[in-house]
């Protein structure tokens, strides 16, 4: 029964994903261009402000790490995360014209949004990793393994959160607006634009309270320093991911039956 259902979901996902990707580029001729230009512009802007104007320096045991490498190793996964959650959160409301007329497993919409955001930003991540490791001249298989592991964890985390917010936003549309503000804040209290060791002690707790800090730090450690996240932060990441996924699925399933009544 469950296996049949999963099989069906698996079969339905690829066409939905394809459509989501197409949808993103449909409607405007500049579509494809824009979606890549926008993150590039932000990267350029952050690099200009933080590296060239504020002169943020990243120290490591092995010497100084270029700011751009530091920035991209945290920012690119963040793009995928933020976009996945925000697009996922509005996916049910956006697809109401379909859900009201065809029987369709609604959970696929947030999941497709998450995966399509990953594919989109994954291109950037792959290019970055390729160039970075090529430039470094060294990469260990364990490092790659850890990166894949972190990305997989992030997909599960993002899916859970977007299922949660997608189902809540059906009942409370404001959530979509609130989320984009919240993620703006979370972005600045994550050590993406600055290294965590430069944060004054008093503020450090705030930064550490942000669950995405641990994730960002894990990316930094693995990609830049070739270190593996400590036991406590790995444990924390797993607990956070699994609870997000569990709560997301639980709330989604509970609220799902009422979607058609409210949409």
């Amino acid at each position: 029964m469950l296996l049949d259902r999963l099989k069906k979901l698996y079969k339905l996902l690829p066409p939905l994903l394809l459509r989501d990707i197409k949808e993103r580029y449909a409607g405007s001729a500049l579509g494809v261009f824009w979606t890549f230009l926008q993150p590039l512009l932000f990267i350029l802007l952050y690099w200009l402000v933080f590296s060239q104007i504020l002169k943020v320096r990243i120290k490591a045991d092995t010497g100084e790490i270029p700011f751009l490498a530091f920035l991209l190793s945290g920012l690119l996964p963040w793009f995928a995360l933020q976009e996945g959650i925000i697009r996922g959160a509005s996916s049910i409301v956006d697809k109401r014209h379909i859900l009201k007329k065809v029987i369709f497993p609604a959970e696929l919409f947030p999941i497709a949004s998450v995966i399509s955001a990953f594919i989109h930003h994954g291109i950037g991540i792959i290019i970055f990793l390729f160039v970075y490791f090529f430039w470094m001249g060294t990469v260990s298989p364990l490092q790659l393994f850890a990166i894949v592991g972190l990305l997989s964890l992030q997909i599960v985390l993002t899916s859970g959160l977007s299922l949660l917010f997608a189902s809540l936003s059906v009942y409370l549309r404001d959530i979509i607006q609130i989320l984009s503000i919240v993620f703006q804040i979370l972005f600045y209290v994550s050590p993406i634009l600055y290294p965590i060791n430069t944060v004054p002690e008093g503020f450090k707790t705030i930064i550490l309270l942000n669950p995405f800090t641990t994730l960002t730090e894990a990316y930094h450690n693995v990609i830049l320093y070739g270190r593996y996240p400590g036991l406590s932060s790995t444990f924390y990441l797993f607990v956070f991911t699994i609870s997000a996924a569990y709560i997301g699925i639980y709330i989604f399933r509970k609220l799902k039956g009422g979607f058609a009544d409210v949409l």
């Binding site: 459509r19 009201k100 007329k101 009942y171």
Partner: protein
Amino acid sequence: MGDTELVVEVLRASELSKIYKLYNKTTDRLKEFFLKGNRHTDFVALDRVSFSIGKGETLGIVGENGAGKSTLLQLIAGTLSPTSGGVMVNGRVLALLELGIGFHPDFTGRENIFFYGDMLGLPRSYVQSKFNDILEFSELGDFMSRPLKTYSTGMQMRLAFSLVSSLEPEILIIDEALSVGDIYFQKKCIDRIMDFKNNGKTIIFCSHSTYHVHVLCNKVIWLKEGAIEMSGEPEKVLPAYEHYQLQKEGKIHEFDREAHAPVLIRELKLLNAQPLKRGDDLQLSAILESKGEENRYHFSISLKIDPSWGVYFTGTHIAGKEPLKGKKKRIIVTFPKIQIMGGYYYIHARVLDETGFVVLHEKILPPFEVKKDSLERGVCYLENHWEFQDL
């Protein structure tokens, strides 16, 4: 259908209810969900509706706006979940609900067709094999490769109907869709629905046009305020429903088709002084107006008794007359020496297309009275002779 004939049941609704919770604020809904307490008022959209449909049957659903028709269809299609009760379905159900089946405006007709198939979990090769049929039936031509947002409402409906009906569902649900297309396409749809019916498929059909329901359906459910008011053969349910509507509106009931109809009943009146007596010549005058010289059409009259049954129905197509034509026409129909008994009757007149299938326009006259002049009872007067023999 004889009692001995075995009908395979394809759909059974049992005690189907849908209660919507109405909230003053959307946040109340969430509050109630997470906290305890009652913050809503119930609205019963559907109240314990039960029925079953056999293979090859066509079920019509009639009722006023807000009677629960759409809710019922959505429950059958599975896009809404019932508050209590359930629907058992045997086979694939495809629904054409309130115009459209979830098309995306930025995608082309072709892309939308394949995506719809994907959503139903149909193999691409199957949808591909039906594609030419859809293209041909919808007559969309080059529009197939243009985005849906460039389509008119009629074109979207054409695509939706062609798609849904080409994918060979076991049960086809059609909600009001026919009222949108032009008359030509309406006829095509009806022909296809007829084919469907003849191929043993099951159809659930919901329409404001009682004529379509009459022509197509062999079973009708009349929904009123969420419950079944009456169900059974169209001959029984439809006149009762029409009569109910008539009474409700109190006077001439007219369908809002004037703007689109190629031929209109401009005027319909009874020439007799009221009340009539049995044996009078019942005379009726109608003025028909055609928008084009080339339109060919039929005119039909149905005499119905208050309160329910059809007494007599005839039309130019039934009487074997050639289709009518001409821009403006007066028709006078005389029923000499009517042999109907005292009571209230009303006239329902329709203009049909040349095949006699599609209603172009219709008008219903308010009831007129035939004076009761004896103690005899019934609808028709039958000549009677009595003989008494002592044995």
